[in-house]
């Protein structure tokens, strides 16, 4: 079930621009935003704050996964794609074939949290151990210092940018087209919330999601690039300094250089208010 796919947020503000002639009131238009489930709450918060300032602009935000957003931007059913991964070369050439020139904007940063059940004794894992777990090389928790129980791997579905990022940066050690895959026994969950729910009730599960989803019902694993380096949790500080090893930029893609309402929206995203919203939603601002 793809909850976020179903949650289409229509922010409609009735303009009361009688006699008012300031610029924000005059700007009209509607913007369709679609893509990353990781970013959908962020985009929604931006949209709500933006439409308060510009009451005559309608913004609709839909999730579904980064791939979904990019595919809809290419086929013309949305104006802005939110994505937690860069566009693939294949996607860029597909866009160009349809006359769309995608422009990339980095709008925030995100740490990917690796989480387990709170009762799990494992606290720290290296990137190498994570890789071994997720490709199915280590199948039992005792191999990484836990109790004797089978590891249940939880991953996102293939339309998730988080899935692609995790595969390329952890499983394939940064080699985009490496041979490693998620273990075939990995359970593919339809949303980040589904991963959070399953980890909360399954003491053998391990999963990953954007740090915005961290809650006391799951235990966050401290991760290190190497045994010799300190183990870190995905905090705002650690991600900002670039110390936390599983962090990534979050993107907005527009068709060509933004214009009109979309340009105003992008300006808002980069403004102090826009970046404050990034911090409020538990992501890391770019400035």
């Amino acid at each position: 079930m793809r909850i976020s796919f179903l949650i289409t947020i229509l922010v409609v503000i009735f303009g009361l621009s009688i006699g008012c002639a300031s610029t924000p009131q005059e700007l009209k238009g509607s913007i369709q935003i679609k893509g990353s489930d990781t970013m959908v709450n962020l985009a929604q918060a931006w949209a709500e704050a933006f439409t308060k300032k510009y009451p005559n602009v309608n913004i609709a935000v839909t999730g579904g996964g980064s791939g979904t957003g990019i595919a809809s931007m290419i086929s013309g059913t949305c104006d802005i794609a939110i994505s937690s991964r860069t566009m693939k070369e294949k996607e860029i050439s597909q866009a160009k074939a349809k006359g769309v020139e995608p422009v990339e904007h980095i709008v925030a940063r995100d740490g990917i949290a690796v989480v387990v059940h709170p009762s799990n004794p494992v606290k720290n894992l290296t990137i190498e151990e994570l890789r071994a777990i997720f490709i199915g090389e280590r199948k039992n928790w005792k191999e990484v210092g836990g109790k004797d129980a089978k590891i249940v791997i939880l991953s996102r579905e293939v339309n998730s940018g988080t899935h692609v990022f995790f595969k390329e940066h952890i499983l394939r050690r940064g080699i985009e087209k490496g041979p490693e895959e998620f273990a075939p026994t990995a359970l593919l969950m339809p949303s980040s919330q589904a991963i959070a729910d399953e980890v909360a009730q399954n003491s053998n599960a391990i999963g990953y999601y954007g740090m915005g989803y961290i809650s006391p019902e799951q235990k966050v694993i401290a991760v290190s690039k190497d045994k010799a380096l300190p183990y870190l949790e995905p905090t705002t500080e650690a991600v900002k300094k670039g110390e936390y090893p599983i962090a990534r930029p979050l993107f907005i893609y527009t068709k060509g250089a933004p214009q009109g309402a979309i340009a105003a929206f992008m300006d808002f995203v980069f403004s102090q208010d826009g970046q404050k919203i990034v911090r409020d939603i538990d992501f890391v601002p770019i400035k």
């Binding site: 791939g67 339309n159 895959e181 075939p184 026994t185 593919l188 969950m189 339809p190 399953e198």
Partner: protein, 290 residues
């Protein structure tokens, strides 16, 4: 008089057209499926597709083996059939032959009500209650397994099986029953030796229609089976079904890519399976009418 004839003629044609349109839709859907799914086989061999053991649709190079998915659908369906057929057929007999009149009406409408519950709701209830229960009962690493899907789907197949089978049982001529009883057979012997064989083709049709519903079901299955594309070895392992794969991945594919064609090719496989099942059901039903 003439106006009446013209009206008659018009209505006749209209009904004829309506009948034709519904068949035309099926044919058009089939052509569309073949066209979109068939394009995959330029890139992947038919055998590699049906018997391939790896489903990694977005990797480079992509692997489109649907054997784990076929087995996933098969396991869930067999499990659901094992649960729903005995219970469904037995309750059809109870409603048609044994239950007192008042109870019969209550049971019938109750079972029809079960058919009216949307599958998402059944899936949601399954996810919250059944999945943790299965995990603890069998002491499994996770409760998101084929058997969770089977139990959930059994609930959905039951109404179809019960109501179609009940109709078949009621349709058995009264004289059969009266004759058997007059010859001194007990009630149980009558049901088991006379009514059951007479109603068998109808019961087979009921079972096939129920199974057809199970194979095509998507939402509930996606929520409780874990969706892991590994070859399953039993009902206590997570599985990924054909339908769940289409539903989970269709949102993401770029129109015209190999992955897109592969999802339509899965659609062809599903279409073929449900066609065969419906065909068997149809044959049995035709036998009933004779």
């Amino acid at each position: 008089m003439r106006a009446r004839k013209a009206k008659e003629f018009l209505i006749e044609r209209l009904i004829y057209l309506c009948g034709f349109i519904s068949i035309a839709f099926v044919i058009l859907i089939f052509i569309f499926l073949i066209k979109e799914g068939g394009a995959l086989f330029k890139a992947v061999g038919l055998w590699d597709f049906l018997a391939g053991k790896e489903w990694y649709p977005i990797s480079e190079p992509a692997r489109f083996g649907i054997l784990p998915l076929i087995l996933g659908s098969l396991f869930v369906t067999i499990g659901a059939a094992l649960i729903s057929i005995p219970i469904g057929v037995a309750s059809a007999f109870y409603i048609a032959e044994v239950a007192p009149k008042g109870l019969r009406d209550v049971l019938k409408s109750g079972i029809e009500l079960l058919a009216a519950i949307p599958s998402v709701i059944i899936g949601f209830i399954g996810m919250i209650t059944l999945v943790p229960f299965i995990k603890h009962l069998f002491n499994l690493p996770t409760g998101l397994t084929a058997i969770s899907g089977s139990i959930t789907l059994a609930f959905m197949a039951m109404p179809t099986i019960v109501s179609v089978a009940e109709d078949a049982i009621v349709a058995v001529p009264r004289s059969y029953k009266e004759g058997a009883l007059a010859l001194g057979a007990t009630y149980w012997q009558t049901i088991y030796r006379v009514i059951f064989p007479a109603a068998l083709p109808g019961i087979i049709a009921a079972v096939m229609l129920g199974v057809g519903r199970v194979i095509g079901e998507t939402m509930a299955v996606m929520m409780v089976t874990g969706n892991a594309a590994a070859i399953p070895h039993g009902l206590l392992e997570p599985v990924r079904t054909l339908t769940a794969t289409i539903a989970a991945e269709m949102g993401e594919v770029v129109t015209g890519s190999d992955h897109y064609h592969a999802l339509f090719a899965i659609g062809i496989v599903l279409f073929a399976i449900t066609f065969i099942i419906n065909f068997i059901a149809d044959l049995s039903l035709r036998k009933v009418r004779r």
